[in-house]
């Protein structure tokens, strides 16, 4: 009989204690008026600029890293940052002079050596750095990689570096030479006309001496030459930046402290923004985009602009012989009502594509796709029938771990109605499987493709995707000698304008074959709290210009 009293009593008492302690808890949850607080997410890798390929680590590093080139926020045009001058006579031998007064946040000077050593480290195959491929154009790149001989088929489990170590003995790119403290030279294997534009990417950042002593410790608390420095990175919680006291460049920040608060989803961040706990976000939850609800939620404290991301539908005519006819692919393209899909599914946050290159980059020319990207169901049907149609159901494969189902369904509907062919969405693969199957040419019918630019140049939307040996060329591969010829000429062109004109011609070739069907260009959004003075700008990469955000 006493047992029950004890049991119930204990439960009640402990519950009471909990409730009490819960109420008495510390309610100073918000971290007082300590500078700018912005949306952040979990970096996938340590914060080494040469080993970061995603925005969670990239956004904070945008502020802590300075490079030779700085991209203008508005038009992504390259401007000299650390570089004093970059000169070349033949697009193959470049002389880089750097400004002598730049310093890393640990006080050491940025020298020609800081660049060359960092680039060599990233290009060294066995280090397996993500940015490795950026150094491909540099002379001596091949000798730095672990490549098995032509006739050897490497087992899937084998590490190429174990058996076939790089042949380069001094672990340095032959194409990089330090001339003096502030000068170094770059030699490329082939002619490159837009090297200057490329050098603004984080992969080309300089690294201080401390990195080479302990790369792992560096990744936890990186040291860069940018306007801000990393004070503290608490995993899963926040990345705190403060002004770099050593910064002497032309692109300083305004606020003394910027905190990236780490969220696992955009919804929670958006709620915090509305409640005033967060100052800037660059991911608006999909529900709130509908009818511009977010702009009314935030009293118009938001902005939107095109960014360097494109979406396409790819077709591999080698994997799917029934689609090995350009006219069929053109008909499919004309059968997709892009604007309606954008309005219905994306709440207007895309722009219909008129070509393969994003409008934000240097060299963009509208209308490369021509009539094939205009919605014209009658013409599409006529062309489709005259080309013989398609037996069975078309499939549109998209990966199922991201929100691709709705638009794929809508695009399929549009195709079904216009061409009178069965069209189904294949959601059977996650992104990992999707990429593997694409790489092995196992996906028939249509498949989704997306591209996010590395650097703002027309070349970046063409060569890495559609040149014969490119790693993301899943289209058969697409191998067009004329395309190769034009891009090679463009790379050798004496100035950017001529190069861009040649790249535009190469882009126009894609419309003949239509293995890749342009869908839309992405736009980026940013919203901010009422603590922010004026407007927040977004750059061509979709990253808010945190440097120039000022609080009231």
């Amino acid at each position: 009989m006493r047992g029950i009293y004890r049991a119930v009593g204990v439960v009640a008492a402990s519950a009471l204690a909990l409730t009490l302690s819960a109420c008495g808890g510390d309610d100073s949850g918000d971290d007082s008026e300590a500078g700018l607080t912005v949306f952040g997410c979990n970096p996938e890798n340590p914060l080494v600029p040469q080993n970061t390929a995603e925005t969670c680590g990239g956004d904070p590093q945008d502020l802590t890293v300075a490079k030779l080139i700085h991209y203008d926020v508005e038009n992504a045009a390259p401007e000299y940052d650390i570089a004093e001058s970059i000169e070349t006579k033949d697009n193959q031998n470049f002389t880089v002079k750097i400004k002598p007064d730049y310093k890393f946040s640990d006080g050491t000077a940025v020298t020609a050596e800081s660049f060359v050593k960092a680039w060599n480290y990233a290009a060294w195959g066995p280090n397996a750095y993500q940015a490795n491929y950026f150094f491909e154009p540099f002379a001596g790149y091949g000798a730095m990689q672990c490549v098995p001989p032509e006739n050897v088929e490497l087992g899937e489990e084998e590490d190429p570096c174990a058996k076939y170590p790089p042949t380069d003995k001094d672990e340095a790119l032959d194409g990089l030479k330090v001339v003096d403290e502030t000068t170094f030279t770059i030699q490329t294997t082939e002619k490159v006309s837009n090297l200057e534009v490329r050098l603004g990417y984080t992969a080309f950042a300089p690294l201080p001496e401390s990195f080479f002593e302990d790369p792992e410790a560096f990744g936890e608390k990186p040291v860069g030459a940018g306007p801000y420095q990393v004070d503290e990175w608490t995993k899963n919680e926040e990345i705190v930046l403060s002004k770099n006291p050593e910064y002497s460049g032309e692109f300083p920040g305004i606020e003394d402290k910027i905190t990236f608060r780490i969220y696992e989803n955009a919804e929670a961040a958006y709620a915090d923004l509305q409640a005033g706990n967060l100052d800037v976000i660059n991911q608006i939850p999909t529900d709130s985009l509908i009818d511009d609800k977010w702009l009314s939620d935030l009293d118009d404290r938001g902005t939107s602009r095109p960014v360097g991301v494109t979406q396409t539908i790819g077709i591999n005519p080698v994997a799917d012989k029934s689609l090995d006819n350009p006219d069929l692919r053109k008909a499919i393209s004309m059968a997709i009502d892009r604007q309606t899909v954008i309005d219905q599914i994306f709440a207007g946050t895309r722009e219909p594509a008129t070509g393969w290159v994003s409008p934000v980059v240097d060299g963009f020319k509208a209308g490369a796709c021509g009539e094939w990207c205009n919605y014209d169901p009658e013409a599409a049907k006529k062309l489709w029938d005259s080309a013989g149609g398609y037996d069975g159901a078309l499939t549109l494969a998209v990966n199922n771990d991201s929100d691709h189902g709705p638009w794929a369904e809508a695009a399929c509907n549009s195709i079904r109605q216009a061409l009178d062919v069965e069209c189904t969405v294949d959601l059977s693969r996650d992104f990992a499987t999707f990429l593997t199957d694409l790489g092995e040419g196992k996906i028939k019918g249509m498949f989704r493709q997306g591209w996010q630019m590395d650097y703002p140049s027309i070349e970046n939307f063409l060569v890495p995707l559609y040149s014969a040996g490119a790693s993301s060329n899943y289209y058969g591969p697409y191998d067009n000698p004329e395309f190769e010829e034009l891009t090679r000429k463009a790379a050798a062109a004496p100035d950017l304008d001529q190069a861009n004109a040649l790249y535009q011609q190469a882009e126009a070739l894609l419309s003949e074959d239509m293995r890749i069907i342009p869908l839309w260009y992405a736009t980026g959004q940013a919203g901010w709290s009422d603590r922010v003075q004026g407007e927040v700008a977004i750059n061509a990469f979709g990253v808010p210009d945190y440097r120039n955000v000022e609080l009231n």
Binding site: G3, I4, R6, A7, V11, S14, A15, L18, T19, A22, C23, G25, D26, D27, G29, P43, E44, P46, A53, E54, G125, P126, A128, Q130, N132, C146, L154, E157, D159, P160, C161, G219, T234, K235, N236, E237, I262, Y263, E264, N265, E267, A268, A269, A271, Q274, A275, N277, D401, D430, F431, A432, T433, F434, L435, D437, G439, Q449, Q452, P464, S472
Partner: protein, 308 residues
């Protein structure tokens, strides 16, 4: 009871081994290359893949991988996530947060749920009974993410009574609202369970006898009736505690709580086997322990259920 506990603890060993092996086999035998998608929208370099496979023992046959993994686990090493963070450290951090959330939710559902169930069970058909029935029906029929976002919008964003999201060290006060959201559905079930059990018990012969003996109402309900009707309720609570810990993904997402649910969810998405297996192992242990405690509590409540 000591013997019984020991026997139950020993029984846990095969269960833990079996379940972790199943999870391990499933996670690591998923089709597709675990490194695909790690390097943006392009395949990773062969060097990267090789380093990755070496690091996570992916080159060994599955049983060997598993034995190596369990060997490390016994030494307290749960491996490293693909973000380079030791799973043990992160799990400890996140588990504390989730445990706090689970305790808040459980306390909320136990106190309100049992209270409401007793009140309505004693007066079947009365005003309180109807109120409880209708309100629990409403809670059960609304999905938890609706409850969560609506409460967050009004109580957090609009009226500022509770914090909108949970702060970095997960203070108790911040967890109050998420705990209520998380516990709401179970609370509704619990209240209904308590109500029907108690009202059944109240109609039994021995309760009538107790009344006839002239015992005060409080003693009849508290000692005679409640004690007997608590058995299924306790079972439910024990099971529910395990479910609250592992299944708080939605609530954790809404309130930005860095807990277990989101960790497993992300681990599955990233094919981060170490994270998934490590977390599931811990969750299996929690389930087993919670059930053991429930079984032991039976004995305290009802001496007829003996563990000797």
């Amino acid at each position: 009871m000591g013997k019984y506990t020991l026997r139950r603890l020993l029984q846990m060993i095969p269960v833990v081994i079996g379940s972790t092996f199943l999870i391990y086999a499933m996670v690591f035998s998923l089709p597709g290359d675990p490194t695909a998608g790690k390097c943006g929208e392009r395949p990773c370099s062969p060097q990267y893949v090789a380093q990755f496979k070496e690091k996570y023992n992916l080159n060994d046959p599955l049983p060997v991988q598993y034995v190596k993994y369990m060997g490390n686990v016994l030494q307290g090493d749960l491996g490293e996530s693909q973000y380079g963070v030791p799973v043990r450290d992160e799990l400890a951090d996140r588990f504390t947060t989730t445990l706090k959330l689970g305790v808040v939710a459980l306390a909320f559902e136990a106190i309100i749920g049992i209270g409401a169930g007793v009140l309505s069970g004693l007066r079947r058909g009365g005003f309180i009974d109807n109120l409880v029935l209708v309100s629990t029906l409403v809670v059960i029929s609304i999905p938890i993410f609706v409850i969560g976002t609506v409460l967050q919008l009004y109580l957090g964003v609009k009226w500022g009574i509770f914090p909108v999201t949970v702060g970095s060290d997960a203070p108790w006060f911040d967890l109050l609202l998420p705990g209520m959201v998380l516990g709401s559905t179970s609370l509704a079930y619990l209240a209904r369970l308590m109500r029907s059990d108690l009202s059944d018990t109240m109609r039994t012969d021995y309760i009538r006898t107790a009344h006839a003996k002239g015992l005060p109402q409080g003693r009849v309900v508290g000692v005679h009736a409640l004690r007997n009707s608590l058995i299924p309720v306790i079972t439910f609570l024990g099971y529910d505690f395990g479910a609250l810990l592992g299944g708080a993904i939605i609530t954790e997402g809404i309130f930005n709580i860095h807990g277990i649910g989101g960790y497993v969810y992300r681990g599955i998405g990233d094919r981060d086997g170490m994270v998934v297996v490590g977390t599931v192992t811990v969750l299996v242990l929690v389930y087993l322990l919670a059930n053991l405690i429930v079984d032991l509590v039976y004995g305290l409540i009802d001496p007829r259920i003996s563990h000797d």
